[in-house]
């Protein structure tokens, strides 16, 4: 289902209004030291507004709207530096469930995710932070018809608050995906102290946990494809979040260079400053179309075919991730000393964008993913 332009604008306006009121700089700062790093009331309100459900299939209780129409709401979460598991659970995990081969399990968990009674995260990368078959933190062996899962998954978003995790594990025959209850014996979750204090990640350690066959989301043979889907969803959400931050950084910086006077004139009248901000406009405008395209491509209800999905998601992740990081670096330099203080939001914005740049795969890896697709027709390598 598609929204009209008016409906899209309305939901983005609602989001900006709500979040500028409920996630002010003071509020964000008050949560920096909080163990869970978010406001449960705001989460409940966002769930009530349907932000977690709109882009998910109707069989989950979602509204079946294209993510290409609803993603601006998630860029507002970046703009207001909102913490909490909404995006991880509703978009990354929810979108992965929508694509999973085991729709019995996906439907049951998806329904509880949509109604807000369960929070789901995704566990992929090992300690090196790679999102590939070879980089997975968990492995599984088959024993007596069941999978025995062991290992350490790092950088699991919102691990401390999530009820369940979609765990990708390597086996000697390929990747599998299983759903694991995180608060049970045999699973241990420890927090990771991130530099970006607006978000939370954790490490999930599992020792010889028997996984019932009914909890296998994608068996060997389908797991690798589901891992790609999950990476594309995560990559796209990271780009969308960064865009929200970067767009606001440019707006705030523009205001500053018009007001700040040195040598008897606004510093925004100096060409060195002007060109830096013009570059930022270029980066914002090109990123704007890249995230819209990626959101369309990974949309859980109507995803693009695999190759164009990968190109769009990886382009957004690498280009927008780098572009917004560049805007933050240039902005901090342009603010001068004031931008280097803890009191200014610049460092919070920069840290959030830098985490986005690294999570769900580095920019250079995503560019190589695009090349895998681009070169496949010529070199006959599997892409």
């Amino acid at each position: 289902m598609r929204l009209s332009v008016a409906e899209r604008d309305e939901s983005a306006t609602t989001a900006r209004r709500l979040l500028s009121d409920r996630s002010t700089s003071e509020k964000v700062r008050s949560l920096l030291a909080d163990p869970l790093g978010h406001d449960p009331e705001l989460l409940a309100e966002m769930v009530d507004l349907g932000w977690g459900a709109s882009h998910l299939p109707e069989v989950f209780g979602g509204y079946g709207v294209s993510l290409g129409d609803t993603y601006p709401v998630f860029s507002e979460l970046g703009r207001s530096m909102v913490g909490g598991p909404l995006v991880t659970s509703a978009v990354v995990a929810g979108g992965t469930l929508a694509a999973a081969p085991n729709q019995d399990l996906a439907g049951e968990l998806g329904a509880r995710l949509v109604e807000g009674s369960r929070i789901v995260t995704v566990a992929m990368a090992g300690p090196q932070g790679h999102y590939t078959d070879a980089g997975l933190g968990m492995s599984a062996v088959t024993s007596g018809g069941a999978l025995i899962l062991s290992g350490v998954a790092s950088f699991v978003p919102d691990a401390l608050i999530a009820d369940e995790a979609i765990v990708f594990a390597s086996t000697n025959a390929g990747v599998v995906a299983v759903v694991v209850e995180l608060r049970q014996r045999g699973a241990e979750v420890t927090p990771i102290e991130l530099v970006d204090r607006t978000r939370r990640m954790g490490t999930v350690s599992i020792e010889s946990l028997r996984v019932d066959p009914s909890r296998v989301l994608a068996p060997v043979g389908d797991g690798a494809a589901l891992l790609e889907t999950c990476v594309d969803l995560g990559a796209t959400t990271a780009a969308i979040d960064s865009f929200g931050v970067g767009e606001l950084v440019l707006e705030q910086l523009t205001g500053y260079v018009k007001e700040r006077h040195q040598f008897g004139r606004p510093i925004g009248s100096f060409q060195a400053i002007k060109h830096r901000l013009a570059d930022a406009v270029l980066l914002v405008e090109t990123s704007r179309v890249a995230i819209a395209d990626a959101a369309e491509a990974v949309s859980p209800c109507d995803p693009a075919e695999r190759r164009s999905r990968i190109v769009s998601a990886s382009t957004a992740k690498s280009y927008v991730g780098d572009a917004m990081a560049r805007i933050c670096k240039d902005a901090l330099q342009t603010y001068g000393g004031i931008g280097f203080t803890f009191e200014h939001d610049m460092h919070l914005q920069m840290k959030r964008v830098l985490l986005n740049q690294s999570m769900y795969g580095s920019s250079s890896w995503h560019r190589r993913r695009i090349a895998d697709v681009a070169l496949a027709p010529f070199v006959g390598r599997p892409a």
Partner: protein, 406 residues
Amino acid sequence: MIDELNQFEERRQEVREWCARTVPPDWRRQQSGADHDSFMSFQRWWRDQLADAGYFVPHWPRQWGGSEMSLAEQVVLYEELARGDAPRNAISQVAIYNSAPAIMHAGTPAQRELYLPAILGGEIWCQGFSEPNAGSDLASLQTRALRDGDHYVVNGQKIWTSMAREAKRCILLARTDPDSTKHRGISFFVLDMDTPGVEVRPIKNAVGESEFCETFLTDVLIPTTNLIGAENDGWAVSQQTLGSERAVVLVGLAELLRRNGRDFLVESACAWTMPDGSPAVEDAAIREAIGGLYGEVEILRLLLNRMIANLIRNGGAGPESSVVKIYYSELLQRLMRVGMELEGLPSQVSRPAVPSSGWESRDFLHDFINSYAWTIGGGTNEIMRNIVAEKVLGLPKEPQGTGGRP
């Protein structure tokens, strides 16, 4: 994808079939290393083909012999011409996109009757705006036009007048009020290039082509009937270029960059090897470079789609066209530079140019050097960045100099 384009499937099919019939399959080979005369006669032939099909001035009103295509229809046309590997119409740009709009907007009925059919008939025009001391600071131009009865007497020097040797006429900016400075006191003329006192000297450009020229004007008489718009109002007249239509032409350029630039790079890279003999496309750094450019070319197309969609729905090209110009030109340059660097020493071998091919001649080094035509021409990217900062963000203007006066 822009929804509005779907209603022009018939037009798309028509252009596709026309290209298949009309574009000579071996034109690149035929035009490879073509000398100036061969280039010109090929260009004239190609222009006539476009005109016969109604694709020469697709945006003009029917009244003046155009095809009155909507913006969406023009997008379809330029997409299909690019997909059909059509040559670039390199000789008509000034006539169609710079001269005609000014004449349609500010010309008298008699001037329109005289000039528009001539342009439609294929007359080549050139543009006498820039001067040796008036490039980015165009408004400080010094060419003088002094009124003497029913003529103006013009003295001065113009530069970068593309196609001046072949041009029948020139749109000329000259200062008619010697006491004024900057944008005031400039008038807009049509100059017949065979008028006595007009001397044209070709300038060889950095890739060895002689498309643009210096034009010297010594006591040249221009009849007052050739003044377009009011005296001293020439700056405003010169701003009448068709922003929207020019933006649409970029769709074709983006499509060409994708097919003849990026896809050619991907294909070429497959043949290259590393010093250890392994295939270049298995090298991580090369894969990263290719993947990055691949995505950036996709973004160009997305950016244009958004601009075109806005144009179709809201009309008018705003300062966002400066964003597109900067992004396109720098992406073109970057892609060619990376292609040249990755190809390595073999890219240094001189190859015959294909002057009708546009900006992707499948020779990375040549195209890299030629790409400066885009980052410098049409307003340097530095000026474009000033426009973006001032018009999009509202940053204050730089304090002005004294206009060359103490």
